[in-house]
């Protein structure tokens, strides 16, 4: 049975189940947004735990927050915002089919992403040196000495640092995944796969990156900026 009507001309980058590229792009984009919705709920659980404990142990959270390095935290926020700019401009370069510019912007994003992780690593190391990692070696004496007016209880301060490490750790894990995705995008951009007609991976990879940026936009004030006055 020679069915010539099935012999549709194969379009580069178009899967069989889609009518056209437009539909394929919309399906991929919607899928990413639904995934980001599940991610919001994933992080939402942690934000909820944070809010409850912060409500219960406000002073302990304030003392813990004050011990974080606000300069490094603000720098990291700026680094992530810069990376979001390079991603947005990268998507634009892909839309316009500018391969060299796209490559350059993807590489810049990778540099910013890795820079963020390095700064985060420095911060975690500081916490390690200060014995602020929850567990047997946790030591709240310095926190008590520096914040006498808060009358803090040493035990709940560990909750603050547990949440700090869990939330920034989960965020950093997402950053590592993001760096992986962008290495993949950079490789295929270098191979010249993305054209003005087909650049969906750059677009939805970008959506993921911006989402991780948004999580940090909330983590920064919640973890670093509690009760800095006084």
């Amino acid at each position: 049975m020679a069915d010539s009507s099935l012999a549709v001309e194969h379009q580069e980058g178009l899967d069989h189940q889609f009518v056209d590229r437009e539909q394929q792009r919309n399906a991929a984009s919607l899928g990413m947004w639904v995934f980001l919705g599940t991610e919001v709920m994933f992080f939402g659980g942690m934000f909820c735990a944070y809010l409850i404990y912060r409500y219960w142990y406000y002073n302990e959270f304030a003392a813990g927050s004050r011990s974080l390095d606000i300069v490094l935290g603000t720098t990291n926020t700026a680094v992530l915002i810069c990376s979001s700019l390079t991603v947005a401009l990268g998507v634009r370069a892909a839309q316009m089919g500018k391969r060299r510019l796209l490559l350059l912007l993807l590489l810049a994003t990778l540099v910013f992403g890795l820079g963020f992780l390095v700064i985060k690593g420095v911060e975690w190391h500081d916490k390690y040196v200060e014995h602020h990692i929850p567990g047997p070696s946790f030591n709240a004496e310095e926190l008590i000495r520096k914040n006498p007016e808060l009358h803090i209880d040493p035990a709940p301060t560990q909750i603050y640092f547990s949440l700090y490490f869990a939330m920034t750790g989960l965020h950093a894990l997402h950053m590592v995944v993001g760096v992986g995705i962008f290495c993949f995008l950079t490789y295929y951009a270098w191979k010249g796969r993305y054209t003005p007609e087909y650049h969906t991976p750059v677009e939805i990879g970008g959506l993921y990156w911006h989402f991780v940026d948004i999580i940090w936009i909330y983590l920064f004030p919640l973890l670093y900026l509690i009760d800095r006055k006084r």
């Binding site: 590229r21 437009e22 792009r25 919309n26 984009s29 919607l30 947004w33 639904v34 980001l36 919705g37 919001v40 709920m41 939402g44 659980g45 934000f47 909820c48 809010l51 409850i52 409500y55 219960w56 606000i70 935290g73 603000t74 926020t77 700026a78 915002i81 810069c82 979001s84 700019l85 991603v87 947005a88 401009l89 634009r92 839309q95 316009m96 003005p196 007609e197 677009e203 970008g206 959506l207 911006h210 989402f211 940026d213 948004i214 936009i217 909330y218 920064f220 004030p221 919640l222 670093y224 900026l225 509690i226 009760d227 800095r228 006055k229 006084r230």
Partner: protein, 97 residues
């Protein structure tokens, strides 16, 4: 492609606004506003998130209504999680002696 191509100028403008808001939120944290410190910090964070979602993630220009519906449903679900949990824990102190 239905996706409109936005100008570089717009992206850089959004970026500059985001950086300014970051500096503002970090500076305001050192000013004593009482309980409003948290409110200001969260309002600024939400403003920043809104800018990223609308412009960097192109939601303002999205032709697909389905995308917007997913976002609104996500936020609604998140608010259920936060509000109902806090309605419980936040009112427990009332029964404590």
């Amino acid at each position: 492609m239905s996706e409109p191509i936005l100008s570089t100028k717009l992206y850089v403008g959004i970026w500059a606004t985001l950086i300014c808001l970051t500096v503002i939120t970090a500076s305001v944290a050192f000013v004593d506003l009482g309980p409003f410190n948290t409110v200001v910090a969260l309002v600024i964070a939400t403003l920043k998130a809104l800018l990223v979602v609308l412009f960097f993630m192109h939601v303002k220009y999205a032709s697909e209504k389905l995308t917007k519906m997913v976002i609104i449903a996500t936020l609604f679900w998140l608010l259920i999680l936060l509000f109902l949990s806090l309605a419980d824990y936040g009112t427990r102190a009332m029964t404590r002696t």
